[in-house]
Symmetry: C2
Subunit: 315 residues, 2 copies
């Protein structure tokens, strides 16, 4: 694997760069991409962030931190994208042209010419923080804000087990750049719309336990979103509900994306590998946090997940 | 105010020390007390932590980090206790004998002979961290664990607006002492018993909005705890529910302690001072997080709180 200094040198030699993010974008894929985009623009590169989906409103302010430019790419990077399948249809045309991938997913599929994958990093933004230092670009308030968003999102605000001493050291350095910490934290981790709260209440009522409480499943159906009048991407915290429960080793959140198409989030305790479960359905992720997409009706989706778990762990 | 070095010198000159914590003890009052107790024992002092209430089970392991000794106190300290009223009946006998108070509550009532109050500190544990350094005691894994618990509890795991760059720097240094970070975080901020979850679900159903959504009130009644079969102190997160809601400036949680006795938590956004509201009922706290106790029936408690808010803010 190349060093971050070598990665930085390669980027310095390119002029027109696209940065691809994954679909259903979160704070890490976007924060990493926008931070890197701004850093590259500051050293005179043309650069642009692309995403299949619309940017969720709470992240949209990062768009003001970069200049918008129309150009054809000479070099294509992806940030926090473990698999080209996660790019989404609108970016599919680039899937065999990705020159460089910067990621922290152990399950990364090595689809790029050059990959820098550090599964010990709590967030891709931790890697991008060091990459920007290797580019020699001073980290300003805007870059720091993007990176803080990446790091705090992927660690559940320093709560998840991927958080390390280094994560806090980087946070200390980013906050010292005078970012609006309390506003960002309140937007990302505290604020909930009345609508989101009412959906959460509906989701709680779907909670089911399996295997003597070792597995808990909740579901989020389109009808709930319709009833509350909100969008799925305003509900980040939902997936952490079932695994929180005492005794639950596998917490599963099944989100209906459209009729008979479900996005499944799997959160596990230390002794269970979420990747193993998700790979059975063509997905991946991290040891404690995995995801996959299953096309079937709801009862079958549940049944198939429970069967994989039963077979794998003998429950 | 004395410096922490002067405070440390005073402590070094004493031999038999009690450390008092506040009732309904949280991670900060206990973490600060146990960290300081261990540090003082490490330099040969007799020292003991006292609390009116039983220590909540998730904090009880800190008891193993100190030696238990019977002795009469020569010197009495309090940690994170803003007012002697917060000591609880069992410690009331000490209330006019407190020699030193270490606290971060702006509303501290200056009841001790010597007070070190730093309202800029996110937690009393931040102050104790520096005090222990001034004592010249190396911070070991056990002290670091206690201090991390104090800091993370009072910042909602680095999420609340009191969190600063310094908070993360101290966290970095404590985590480097090899504390069991992921276990502590999961115990304090992730794990919920099935019972706690079911109470939360009941509490959600009590949510009421006032003043066009600027104030939200939830209540936690003894009957809910009885129904679920758990204790109030296993429900830390409840008080942060109402203020999270978009548009809510004052989030109030009313907890029934016994018939016609309610503990009220007030959380506010930046433009509202929670202390002002709580002081109207003899309480206090921080600008964003206050508390008070009101003896009356539930409807009157609500009515009286709403009247104070209405008069103060003209809503």
């Amino acid at each position: 694997m190349k060093t971050l200094l070598e990665i930085a040198d390669i980027l310095k030699s390119k002029n027109c760069i696209y940065i691809l993010t994954h679909r259903y974008p979160d704070g890490d894929t976007l924060g990493s991409a926008y931070a890197l985009c701004r850093a590259l623009q500051l050293i005179g590169k043309k650069c642009k962030v692309l995403c299949h989906d619309e940017i969720p409103s709470k992240f949209r302010f990062m768009n003001d931190y970069v200049k918008y430019e129309e150009f054809d790419p000479e070099y294509i990077i992806s940030t926090d994208v473990a698999d080209i399948k996660l790019l989404g249809d609108k970016l599919l045309a680039y899937s065999d042209k990705i020159n460089m991938c910067i990621d922290h997913h152990m399950s990364n599929k090595s689809y790029a010419d050059i990959a820098f994958v550090d599964a010990m990093a709590a967030a891709t933004a931790e890697i991008v923080y060091e990459l920007i230092q290797n580019l020699g670009v001073p980290i300003d308030k805007e870059i720091a804000s993007c990176l803080y968003i990446g790091i705090s999102t992927d660690t559940g605000c320093f709560k998840y087990s991927n958080t390390t001493a280094k994560t806090h050291k980087i946070a200390y350095e980013l906050i010292n750049k005078n970012i609006n910490l309390s506003k960002i934290n309140s937007e990302l981790f505290e604020k909930k719309s009345k609508e989101a709260l009412s959906v959460e209440y509906m989701v709680y009522s779907t909670l089911e336990y399996f295997f003597k409480g070792k597995c808990a499943i909740i579901r989020l159906m389109q009808s709930m979103l319709d009833k509350a009048g909100i969008n799925d991407n305003e509900l980040e915290g939902i997936a952490s509900i079932p695994r929180q429960i005492d005794g639950v080793k596998i917490g599963i959140t099944i989100r209906e994306k459209k009729s008979n198409l479900f996005k499944v989030s799997v959160r596990t305790t230390e002794d269970i590998n979420a990747i193993e479960i998700c790979e059975a359905f063509g997905g991946g992720g991290h040891p404690r946090t995995g995801g996959c997409t299953i096309e079937d009706d709801l009862e079958n989706v549940k049944e198939r997940l429970l069967t994989v778990i039963k077979n794998k762990y003998g429950w």
